[in-house]
Every structure is written in C-alpha cells, then in structure tokens.
Symmetry: C2
C-alpha cells in the first residue's frame, strides 16, 4: 500500500493556499488480468502514475523498454481499472469544505464517493474539483473507475484510433514510440480542507501600451464568502521590492483590482534579455482583520505577434496570383526573433511519472543548446504546470499545440464537445505563462496523411476559443502552414539520392519547423535495450525493429545501415555503426540549422525533429536519448545555434582526391548588437596536413543580420585519410569558429 501524503498545498495555476494539516490518502488499484479473468486483484497504486505501471509492478513484469517487453502491456488497453482511495475524516469546523482535486485523470473515468457517483468525465486535461463534504463519513472511500482507452474503431490498431478523442495520439504507435497506451491518474491529486472563506484561483490579465511603457493589469481572485474581507494585492519585482500594492474590490465570489505598472521590466527569451518575472501575492484577511490565506504567483510582461516574414509580401509574382504566405516571423516586444529550437515530445511514455526534475534537466539542455523555442508537438501531451513555469523562468518560448496530430479529427458533435472542454481547460491554464509564444491546432493536419482542412470544424473551433480566451497570443491552424516546411528527415533522400546540403540550399521556406537526421543511439543505450543475442548484426523483426531501427517511417529508417555502408564502406562493428551514423547526424543537423539561419530574414525559425524521446530508441532523429543523454549531435546543434558564428554553405559530403573543393563562407549574427569587422580564415585539415582555402575580411555585422562571404575553392590533395575537416577560424574570436567534416573517396 503506497501512502501518498497529500497536503493542502495547491500548486494549481498560479497560487497556493496556506499549508495546513495533511490528509492522509491511501491508494489501491483494483484490476483483472486477461490471463485470470474474473479474479479481482489489488496493486499498490502510485498517484500520479499509470495503471499500466502499477499492474506491471504487481505482476512482476520486466521493464517495458527492454527488448519487446512493451507487448506484454497490450492486453490492458481494453480493460477497466479502478483506483480506490481511503481516508479518515479530519476534524472540521462549521463551514469547512472537504474537496477532492485532481489536475488530470487519463482518459475517461467516473468518480464515486462513499457509494455515490459524483462525476463521469472524458478528457485528461480538465481538472477535477469535487466537494465531498455532504457525503463524509468517518471512514471514506473514493473510487475512480478508469475506462478502457478510447478507440474510434477496433482496427487498424494505429494512431487513427485516437481521432475521435482528445487523447494524445502518439501512444497508439509512432515511428519512434511503441504501441503502449497509458491511462490512470497522471497529475497531482489530493484532498484539501478549505475554510468557508477562501480564495481558490487567481486570474491575471494585462495589456501593454503601444510603446510598452505601461502595463494595465486586471487581477481577479475567485473564491467564496469574500464580501467584507480585505484582499491586499502586492506586486514585487525580481529582487523582492514592492512595486505596486492596493486592495481588491471584494464581492462574494471574487475580488477584483485594476492597476497600472509604469515602465515594467519586460520578459524576454533568454538569448535576448532577462526572462523577467514579477511576483504577486494576494492576502486575504477576514472582516475582523484575521489573516486567512495568501495566494502567490508570477507574472511576466511581454508582447507577442506573428508578423509577415521579410520579403514574403513580394511573393507570389505574376498572374493568376494566389495569396501571400502565412506569417511566421515571431516578434517579441517589438523585436523580430529568429527562433532556434526543437520539437518537444513526451519525455516519458507514461506522463504520470514525469516529475519536476525531468522537466528541469531537459529544459536546462534546451538553453544549453542555445535554443530559444520549443514546439510542444500535438501528438503528445500538454505538459504539466511545472514545465511552463520553468520555461517562464528559463526564458524558453513555447509553441503549444493542441492534442491533434496526423489524423482527420472529424466534425462530429460528440468529439467537438470534448475538444471544446479540453481546449478551454488547456487555454485557461497555459495562457498565464509569458513563455507562451503561440497556439497551434496540431501537427500536420493540412497534409494528405491527416486530411483535415481550413474547413474542419475542430480547427475553426480552436481558433475561435483561442480568440475568445487568449486574444493576444497568435494562433496558427497547424504546422506547416503555407510557406513553412516540414522535413526532410534523412541525411540523403532514399529515392533521389539528394543530400541534405542541396535539399536545404534549394529550399525557400519561411520556417523550418520540423527536420530530422537520424542516428543510432549510443552503444551503452543499445546494450540496455537489445538482448545480446540480437545485437549484431542488427536485423529486422527483432528488438531493433521494436526500437525503431527498421520500418519505422519509410525505407530503412531510422538505423539506415545500408546508407551508412554506402558512404563509409562495410560496417565491421556496432561501435563503428554508431560512430558513423552519429557523424552523419552531426553534419546533417549543422547543415540544416545553419542554412536556415543563412536564409534569414525570409526564414524565421529552425526547429529540428526532435529534441528528446519517451523511451530509449535504437535509432531516432532526437538529439537527446532517453532520459537525458545528449547525443554527439546535441553538441553539433549547440554550436550551430550559437548567437554569432562563422558558417559554411557546403555542397556535399563526399569529395574525391584532387577534386576542386568549394564552399561559401558566411558570418551569422542573431544578436541585437553590432558585431565588429574581422578576418575569417578557412582551412582544410586532414590530421596534421592542411590546405589553405583563403581568408575573408568581413565588415561589421548589423544587429540581427548575416553577411554573405565569398565562395572559396582549392584542389584537394591526394591525402591518405578518408575524412577531412573544413575549419573556419575568426581572428581573435575563437568562440565564432566552426568546423565541418567530409569524406574523402579514393578516386
């Protein structure tokens, strides 16, 4: 029996109640197994967690990430489970309420308290708040029945089963995610004792004046029995100095205050300034002057827009003329931001076990990689609250998608009703965060494999709800929109043979919001997930395939062993396979990020597919292995995303001895400051041997402006090496230096 001590500390949204005596709540999970039908079993329940994990532990399953163990969990999809929570009635005063609260239960469920059914709900993103007071006994029992996972149809057993629900589609199987569908209580859940007079939620709105020198704030605290109480509002700056105070006008169910903050410090993404946060607190005292409660939270002031990409209005030319592209240039506080970042996917298959530490270590990686934006991809969950708080604090912009991805979510009234409920819950929560840069209806919905269009009522509804509830934050229907690009996802196109270098330099997109280069995972990870007897050589139909090395997307994705052999010759060992595949990933990602940056200002974003992964894959496009092991590509991307760097537009990977090598050199500057003139030297290096390519005396770079340099050429020697490096060195600025690796072929 797992004892979860649940305190009266609600961290929901943006405030907390004062800590009081904990109420002890013991959770058990009741289930039947497929193999033993009719026999009711009990397991210790971890809350938050997942029924699958509780059962796996009780039944002694091996870890789902090893070999093909994930298949053991499949039977659970169509079962019902029941959480049973028991607690002793605490001592209560007249008017006190005892309230059950959960921030998320996945996916459809009903809640019974002491035998009385209180709620049936579909949807994991709408929090639950149930007043238990009138049904209380000395010994109390709350039961949460979890329904089988939603499936639009029994077959095919793929992501399309999720297309009539707001259940994230990824767990129904994706090219980097096994078929393993979680359910159960996945976010903080507790019982709280609340005095009759209390605040329960704070809502903040603000608008910034045109020149951002004034913030008009509306603060609203919702609660009960507040008439006659004093509700003091205090706003403090980041150093703790009070910058504003006042008293709310108290009505019975809420207090309201309008105030103006002069010359507010603005919130910025970390690479453009401080992610400045103010702290507010609202102190509630009763009419007699007795202190009752404080609610606290953070507020950051920023203006966010999507404006037309530079140069895009002049397209299209000629007649018949279609429309110009959709704007995707992000502007924060009036400044155009080139967004560098990645696509964030669930860091665990079971979102119930994602904790603050996991968010923190991954978000620290994001800033370490010089990323200023994460796209929270629509195939996965909307994250727990601490994710957004940390993005606020760390200055990471969040592109938040609704949970729709690669499916045709149809116009049925039943689906639209649930989507509306879930979207309202999501918007009301996430809109409070200054890190929120934009909403998106979901992933790739306007492409053939999804089949939705601008006419789909779900998209029109999401647009409408965002306009109503969060009008100052941009909304896009999906990614990609007209002008934006997704892909490519391989180093070399498997049909045309075209490499990433020319694919990208031939592309003309306003934003590259998905692109990937796969690599094998490190040897250590492979050894942890693939049984020794299957390890070498990798083969289809084994744990390699279960872990996405084969038949994941198209062709030999994501391991690409044939392509690796074509480039490097026969692969002799696992270590060699991994090293070669990872080299391609490093070079490919550098080529794409830097080319996207060279296409600034027409291009305004570069977000690779993908940042992290939910379990240890054998091969994937991610730059961080589960749970938090950076691949070599992580560091290559980190360098490609430095604010200022020397960059080369390269043409291909393999060069012949004595061939004329050529490259075009650039200086890239994403800072809003001028970079002084300098001297860039380009050298080809193989071991200790060098070929001087030339130097470029570049002029000063204006703020947020690149500079195109010359094409440099030199004949390659008959080096014995099979690889060589292009090194770019900036005199006096080693922090701008860059290098690129190439293969040297015999003839």
């Amino acid at each position: 029996m797992n004892r979860t001590l649940l305190f009266l500390v609600a961290t929901l949204f943006c405030g907390h109640l004062m800590a009081q005596t904990p109420i002890e709540l013991n959770w058990t999970l009741e289930y039947e197994t497929d193999s033993d039908p009719g026999k009711l079993k009990q397991a210790e329940a971890h809350v938050p967690g997942a029924v699958q994990l509780d059962i796996a532990k009780a039944e002694g399953y091996s870890h789902y990430y090893y070999a093909e163990n994930w298949k053991d969990y499949l039977w659970m999809e169509d079962h019902e489970f029941e959480y049973v929570g028991r607690f002793i009635k605490p001592s209560m005063q007249n008017g006190d309420l005892l309230v059950f609260r959960s921030l998320g239960i996945d996916y459809e469920f009903e809640i019974t308290f002491n035998g009385t059914k209180l709620l049936q709900q579909e949807g994991m993103f709408t929090p639950v708040r149930l007043d238990l007071t009138s049904l209380l006994k000395v010994q109390n029992e709350i039961r949460i029945k979890i329904y089988p996972i939603p499936k639009k149809h029994p077959l095919p057993a793929d992501r399309s089963q999720a297309s009539a629900s707001v259940k994230p589609a990824v767990s129904y199987g994706w090219d980097w995610h096994p078929r393993l569908v979680p359910s159960g209580i996945w976010d903080d859940t507790w019982i709280e004792l609340i005095p009759e007079t209390h605040m329960k939620e704070v809502r903040l709105n603000y608008s910034l004046s045109e020149d951002m020198d004034e913030a008009f704030v509306k603060a609203e605290a919702l609660g009960n029995n507040l008439s006659g109480c004093k509700m003091a509002w205090i706003l403090s700056d980041a150093k703790g100095n009070m910058v504003d105070m006042g008293f709310m006008r108290a009505y019975n169910d809420r207090g309201v205050l309008y105030t103006k903050i002069s010359n507010p410090e603005l919130w910025w993404p970390h690479d453009h300034g401080d992610p400045y946060l103010y702290t507010y607190s609202i102190e509630l005292t009763d009419p007699s002057g007795k202190f009752l409660q404080t609610m606290e939270g953070k507020i950051g002031f920023r203006k966010v827009k999507l404006i037309m990409n530079e140069g895009a209005w002049s397209e299209p030319a000629g007649f018949p003329k279609t429309r110009s592209v959709a704007p995707i240039q992000l502007e924060i506080n009036g400044r155009k931001i080139f967004c560098k970042g990645s696509n964030w996917v669930n860091p665990e298959i079971f979102p119930g076990i994602i904790n603050d530490d996991r968010y923190e270590e991954l978000l620290d990686r994001a800033t370490e990689a010089n990323f200023n934006m994460l796209r929270v991809w629509g195939g996965g969950i909307v994250n727990k609250e601490s994710f957004y708080k940390m993005c606020d604090e760390k200055g990471i912009l969040v592109w938040q998608e609704f949970p729709l991805a690669c499916n045709n979510y149809e116009d049925s009234p039943e689906y639209l009703e649930i989507l509306k409920q879930e979207a309202e819950s999501i918007i009301s929560r996430v809109r409070e965060h200054p890190s929120l840069a934009m909403w998106s209806g979901g992933n790739e919905l306007f492409n053939s494999w999804s089949g939705m269009t601008d006419q789909s009522l779900a998209i029109r509804m999401l647009n409408s709800l965002c306009l109503e509830l969060d009008p100052n934050t941009p909304f896009i229907s999906t990614s990609p929109l007209m002008g934006m690009g997704h892909g490519h996802y391989v180093f070399r196109d498997q049909e045309s043979g075209e490499e990433v270098y020319s694919t990208m330099s031939g592309a003309h997109n306003t934003a590259y919001t998905e692109f990937g280069i796969p690599s094998p995972s490190s040897v250590e990870i492979l050894e942890a997930i693939i049984p020794e007897k299957e390890m070498w050589p990798p083969r289809e139909g084994t744990s390699w395939e279960s872990h996405h090395a084969y038949n994941a997307w198209v062709g030999e994705t994501w391991l690409m062993p044939d392509m690796i052999e074509e480039y490097f010759g026969r692969t002799a060992s696992l270590e060699e396979l991994v090293e070669r595949g990872q080299l391609l990933q490093c070079e490919g990602y550098k080529a794409i990020y830097e080319e996207a940056r060279r296409q600034k200002p027409y291009c305004s974003m570069a977000l690779n597919w993908c940042f992290n992964e939910p379990w240890p894959t054998a091969a994937n496009n991610s730059i961080i292995n589960w749970p938090d092991f950076p691949k070599p590509a992580f560091y290559a991307v980190q360098r490609a995303c430095r604010p200022v760097l020397a960059s080369a537009r390269n043409f291909k990977l393999v060069w012949k001895k004595e061939e004329q090598f050529s490259t075009q050199i650039w200086m890239l500057n994403d800072l809003y400051q001028k970079i002084e003139q300098g001297v860039l030297t380009a050298t080809l290096v193989a071991g200790k041997k060098k070929v001087d390519l030339g130097t470029w005396e570049f002029g000063a770079l204006e703020a947020n402006t690149n500079m195109e340099g010359p094409v440099l050429k030199a004949q390659l020697p008959r080096w014995k090496a099979d690889r060589f490096t292009l090194q770019l060195e900036v005199e006096g600025h080693p922090e701008y230096n860059s290098d690129y690796t190439f293969l040297l072929s015999g003839e």
Copy 2:
C-alpha cells in the same frame, strides 16, 4: 414633399405581419451646402435613397454619370444631414405598440423622436427597431441625423479611408468606380402599429441526415405575449400541398417547434436540378381562438461543403513539405459542382435606389449566362433581402463576402466592435437562404496591397462568428486562398507581352475566382457619358479617364488603345475601337472560362471579374454595362459556360499566312449525365474559304467529366482576310458547336 406610404407589411427576413391600415410618413432632408454655409435648406427626401441624390435634385445638379459631374458631389462627404419624418398618431388600442423600423441607414447616425434621443449607431447593415409608443403625441417628428462619411484619415483620399469602418470601400474610389460616397437611409424604412400579442421574427434551422432523406427542422417564432396562444405551423411543398403541420410550444416571447420532414425535396443550383423551396406559415390565434397574425416564408434544404480539390492532396511533393492547398471544391448535396459565374458588384453607386426590378433583370442575366454562382464581392454592399430571395428562387449560388476589401483592417477594439455588430446582423439575415454557398472574410486581404494575414483579429473574429451562427456553411478567410488565383486582368500582359492563352494554360490553380479582359463600352453608352468635344480621339485627363478608360489600374487600363492598335493596326474611328476591343474581350473570356473548365477536376471554379457595374464606364472588365446592357462578351461567356460544348485550347491570337496553325480540341461536360460518343469536326474559315483541320471521334463522356482530344494542325493559306475563325462542329449536336476568332498577319 415625398409621401411614402408605409404599410404594416414587414418583409424583413422571412415573414410578414398581416396588412393593416397604412401610416403616412412624410420625409424631408435638411442640409447646408458648402457654397452657402449657415443656411439650412430643405429637400424632398426619397426613402430609401441617398442624401446625395436628394440634394442633387434639389440643387439642380446634372446626372452624376455624365462627364465629370461626379466631382460636384465631393463636398458632401464631410457634412451632416438630417432626415425629418412626420406623422399623425394613428388610433391605437390598449397594449398596441408603434414601432419605427429601418432595414438600413448608411453609415453613422442618431435618431431622435419628439426631441428625445433614442439611438446612436454606427453601421449600415444592422437594422433599427425603436419602440416609439411612450413618446407619442398627436403630431410626431422623427429625426435621423446622418454623420459625415467615415474616414480613418483625411489623406490619402482613397479606399484606405474606409479601413476602420464597415462602410463598403468601393465608393471611396476604385478602378471602375468614381469617388462618390453615398450615405443616408438605404433600405426599407417604416412605422408599424403592432398589437400587444404578436410575432416579430421567425428563425429556422435544419440539419439533413447523412443520406439527406430526413430534414430535422427547428422553427422558432419570436414575439410578445404569446403564452396561451395557438401557434400553428404549416409547411407546404412547391405545389401548395401541405407536407407538415403542428403546433408550436408557446412561451411568452417565442414559440418553438421541432419537426422532421421525410424525403425532402432538395434545393439545387439551377443547372443541377430544381431550386426547390418549401413555404412555411405560422398562424397565431389568441387563447379565445381569434386569428391574429400569419408569418410566412420559404425554406430550402441543401447540404453545402468545401472539400479538397481532386488531385490536390498529392501536392506538394518532396521535402521540405508545406501544407496542401485550401479546399475550394464546392459540394452541394454530395455532388461536386463546377462553379461558373462572376463577381457581383453594386449595381448602383447609391444602393438606396437598387430595387427589385434591377436585381431581377441582372439575376436573370446570370442564369441566362449559364452561371450557377455569384461572388458578392467584399468591396461592395451586402445586398438587400430581395437579392437573396431571388437567388434562392433562381438557383444561383451566392458566395457572400463581408465588407472588407484591399485594406488592412486593423485590430483596434473600436473597429472590431462595429465589425462584430455588423457581421452578426449580416450572418443572422443571410444564413436563412439556401442559395448561400459560402462566407468569405473579404477581398484579397492576404495580399501585399491589403497586408492582412491569418493573424488579423478581424478575420479570426469573422471565422468565429460564422462558426457560432452558421456552422454548416463554409467560411474562407479571403479570396484568393492558397492555390486559388486572381487575375490576369488584361488580354496581354503589358510587361511580358504574354497572352491570356498561354498564361492560362500555364496556370495551375484550384479556382479562378477573379480574371478579367477589358473592353470599351458600346458607342451608345460612350455617347451618353462623354461630351462630344472629348469623344475623339480618347485622351487622358478627360471624361474618358473619369470613366476608367485611362490610369484606372496599371498602364493604359481599361481602354488599351495602344494594344488594340498593335494587334489591329491604326484605329480610325470610335466604332472601330469599340468593335476591336470587344472582340478581344470575347476571345479572352472564352479562353479563360474554357481553360478553367479543361483543368477540372483539379480546378473547380471560374468566376470572372466582373459581372455588372455601378455606373456607365467607358471601358471595364464587366460583361454587362450599367444598368443592364450585355456586352458582346456576355454572349461569348454564355457560350463558354454551356453545360456541354466542344472546346479548343488555342495558343495565340495572331497567325501568319502559311504558318502551321494548331489547336487542341476537347469535349467538356459539366452535367451529371453521360454524353454519348460523337464526331467533332474542326474547320478554319475566312469568309467563304475553308481549311479542314480534321475530325475527332470522341467516346462517351462520363457525368461531370471532360475528354481531351488531339492536337490538330494545318497550314494556313495566303488568305486575303485579316481575320479567320476556328469552327468546331459536333455532328447532330449544333448546341455543342463553338468558334474562335484569330487575326491573320501579312507575313
């Protein structure tokens, strides 16, 4: 003094009250002129009409369409005017209400009754309903002060002045519309005596079952004091036979009834079936059984969707991959409709003088032209109610735009508030009509000359309002959307010299929703608008230019005299200029309509710019001259839009003697029925001389399917003629025959 007899016959929306005694209302207009400031003058007021017309008549102005007389009206823009309406109190019974109603007052105004200010309103599309009862005297006076026309800024004096209001932008000056901005009472306006117990408005909603064999109808009659009354619902078919009846559930302010119609006849556009309309009536009797009132109206059942164009899901190919195009294939009752039609503009500069006859004659022209769709362009007004009723009856699909065009309508709260009010009024009225095929935010908003984007709050709001108030009708943000094309607007591009033939055969758009070929107006019209001394030769800076012959759009639009001389040689007379320009318009329009049809099914629409015109132009893209004179191009378009025809894809206008002529022949079929196999013969003809091009034995054409035929070639003789004709003849089906005219050059 103009006496308007205003009866208690409200034709608003979809019903009428029973006729009662008329209330006589006399209207006068009070004004000052610029030339005589401080002196209050009075004019007879025509209601509905325009203050400009009343003043012009009183002041003895010449007609605004002659020469440059329109300039005389400019001073009125910045003046206030006041309508004064007087009436004697009618005899009234206890509980009776006397109500002032107006369906439209243009643009900002305030209404005072017997000295009491009752309303200030901005917006010409929101009807006015004011209860005058409590302020009634024996002699009564209603005053309507008309504010100066809205201008966002004093300069530039162009359409951008309309960008902060919901005033149609066209009258601020367009390339075919003079600067002449109307204001005043523009739609039906009256006073009605209403008994205490009455119905005032009927709202109908329905949904069709998946296979359209059942219509679920909700009928709602709003009114007053209805509790206890009987409200009988009767639905009759087109022959007058009753098909449904029942009694509404009567509440105080409304009666409601839900009913199901089995196997309803569906409403179709005229070229695909009957535009079938049912008649409903609601009879109100008081609790004692005394008959009080009947409201009647029409209802048509149809399902309308925008679905993806055939073949468009397979685009784009390759990576990086952007989204697929926006869907613009209209589907009515499950059938894909190729939309042939035109852009409808205001048929008068002063919408107040548009009457039912004008709508009827122009809408009859539309069906005569084989058009099934009119795009009510966003630069103009939303039409009066009779327009939509006639479209319902005649089976013409209506693409309705909101009044936004070629401007950047900004995100200011003031503008958005008025737009919301006006859009709600527009949607609530027009949604009742089965002819309504789609809503559009406005014209060319996502192009550089407008500068709006998907992020513009006005567009997001319109999408949201349409979703809320009319969810079953498609909404598009603007035209063109991605994949759709606007233009070209000339026979031959003035820079590249490319002719319409190759522009169109090289285009690949899902819909051509604007394209134009200009021509001079007929000699009779030119003589009516251009003073004799300016007539020949046409020159810039004269009435020719005021009437859009020069400097209207770019280059020598719309008269194109230089281009005409380049094609035909020196122009010797007005008659010759007109004949030659009109020939180009005929051939150009045939080329575009037929090429768009040949591109079916990927292409789904062909709507030319434009159908009609608001005053007599000297040259324009329209195919009908004001008020209702078809140009020769009207008949060319009529032939190009026949449901079935032989068609030629031609390559150029001018051929040399002895040159090898070539053309590709096709059979086009938009009918949902099979066309039998046949024999098509192609012949080149100059006077009595002929060259046989060959025959094509074409197979049977499936429903709604074209057939591509061979390219036919023959050497042109050394004919003496300077023109020749390609004649396509289908054996036994002269109704399919087509012909095309070409020029023959010396060498």
